[in-house]
């Protein structure tokens, strides 16, 4: 074998672990900003009086759930450069992930709000509370408890979703794995490691989501 290949060493493991931090950062960015979008979408979807808001939010969710995340990443990434925005790669890759999170978490927010019986709203109003007050003191405390298990479950989906930043050449865990595998030729070893790191991030989240859901069921 020609000497252009570098032997796989502990340095590559460190490189992969470093890249997994990028994955986690991407995920944190997308989740925290996506949550803001999701709150807006969830509130719009549950607006009873304003049909336009409901329609816009429903269309948003349908579009982002009805197209591949891969396409969303491509379109946002190249679309941003078309409108002349030169953003750092991290931000450019985060934007489609934020919008994706907004759509999926928006549905979770909606389900949480809708799980609160209508009677509680009416009770609040008849006590003279405003929309915001009922939301703050009656709906949110219960809705948040309902939203937590599926949100943690969504995090797993998001961590997996960040792997698609690979396609635009952003170096996160999957791309890093690809680079190391091309340089060292230890393909199977590298992708086993990459898979294990993803599993190590996601499995605790999956377990937590299941436990939280079981606990919610017991208390309900």
């Amino acid at each position: 074998m020609p000497e252009i290949f570098i032997a796989f060493s502990y340095k590559d493991v460190l490189y992969l672990l470093q890249a997994s931090l990028v994955t986690v950062a991407l995920c944190a960015m997308a989740f925290s900003c996506g949550l803001v979008v999701a709150l807006a979408i969830g509130l719009m979807r549950t607006a009873r009086r304003v049909r336009v808001l409901r329609f816009v939010a429903a269309a948003y969710v349908e579009v982002f759930r009805g197209t591949p995340l891969l396409m969303q990443i491509f379109i946002a990434y190249f679309g941003l450069s078309i409108i002349g925005l030169q953003l750092p790669k991290f931000v450019a890759v985060s934007i489609p992930l934020i919008l994706f999170t907004g759509a999926f978490m928006g549905e979770i927010v909606r389900a949480g709000i809708e799980a609160i019986p209508r009677g509680q709203w009416e009770a609040g109003w008849s006590l003279g509370m405003s929309y915001m007050q009922v939301m703050r003191w009656v709906v949110v405390p219960t809705a948040v408890r309902i939203m937590i298990p599926p949100s943690v479950g969504f995090l797993v989906q998001l961590v997996k979703g960040t792997s698609l930043a690979y396609v635009v050449g952003y170096v996160e865990l999957t791309r890093a794995g690809y680079i190391v595998s091309q340089a060292t030729y230890a393909t199977m070893l590298v992708f086993t490691l990459v898979g294990l790191i993803y599993f190590g991030i996601n499995y605790p989240l999956s377990l937590a989501s299941q436990r939280l859901e079981a606990r919610l069921k017991r208390h309900a």
């Binding site: 349908e62 579009v63 759930r65 009805g66 197209t67 591949p68 995340l69 891969l70 396409m71 969303q72 491509f74 379109i75 190249f78 679309g79 078309i82 409108i83 002349g84 797993v156 961590v159 997996k160 979703g161 792997s163 698609l164 690979y166 396609v167 999957t174 794995g177 690809y178 595998s181 393909t187 199977m188 992708f191 086993t192 990459v194 898979g195 993803y198 599993f199 996601n202 499995y203 999956s206």
Partner: protein
């Protein structure tokens, strides 16, 4: 903004996209059907009393559900080459999609089976139904009714997720777009156009499955 859009590029090349869309449907359809077979076997294994059946099935489901599809794809693609098996990218894509879809469907089927109480089949038998009648009216139809909507969403998820297989050059819709992109450089227009095709297909199948579900299971009353 100085960019001029050239929407005629993707429109002109519609036969390539039609072919790509059909390839995507073929690929995800085959993968889902095979995945369903895997899923029924694994769901039964997960519910089995034997630990050595339950363990591997659980490990399979958890491993697949907690890792990204693209990593699974590379693993199978390069793994098969490493052990000396050279398959077409399209075949590798179907194999990986089957493995992936099978794991998600296992959980759906398992939930479906668990939704039927043991007491119900006993009730059926004590009403004088034969085993076949109990199986058909008390077990099969209600289970199918429970699993139908999530299986339909899973098919759509698999179809959308299959766009990733373009990364190993399996020839489907996204790959057709990438080929055209490398000839024309109209990246945005092409991928926007493809996203619309995916969206239309997803909506179409969503409505189709929902209507068939309503029609087929209208008379299957069983407990939900």
């Amino acid at each position: 903004m100085t960019y001029t859009f050239h929407w005629e590029v993707p429109l002109r090349e519609w036969p390539a996209f039609l072919w790509g869309a059909l390839a995507t449907l073929e690929m995800s359809g085959v993968a889902c059907l095979l995945g369903l077979v895997v899923a029924v076997a694994c769901a039964l294994a997960r519910l089995s009393k034997h630990r050595y059946l339950r363990g591997p099935a659980t490990a399979y489901v958890e491993a697949i559900r907690n890792t990204p599809f693209i990593v699974q794809l590379f693993y199978v693609y390069f793994g098969l080459v490493t052990v000396g098996i050279n398959l077409e990218a399209f075949t590798v894509a179907i194999i990986t999609l089957t493995i992936n879809c099978g794991a998600y469907c296992t959980e759906i089927i398992r939930a479906g089976i668990q939704s039927i109480h043991r007491g119900q089949s006993e009730a059926g038998l004590s009403l004088g139904m034969t085993y076949m009648q109990v199986f058909r009216y008390v077990i099969l139809m209600p289970t199918l009714r429970v699993v139908w909507p999530p299986l339909a969403s899973q098919f759509i998820a698999t179809m959308l997720g299959s766009s990733v297989v373009s990364q190993i050059s399996a020839e489907e819709l996204t790959y057709a777009g990438m080929m055209l992109e490398s000839r024309t450089f109209r990246t945005f227009e092409i991928f926007f156009f493809i996203a619309i095709i995916y969206f239309v297909m997803a909506q179409f199948f969503s409505i189709l499955f929902s209507l068939t579900g309503k029609r087929v299971f209208r008379r299957a009353w069983g407990q939900l």
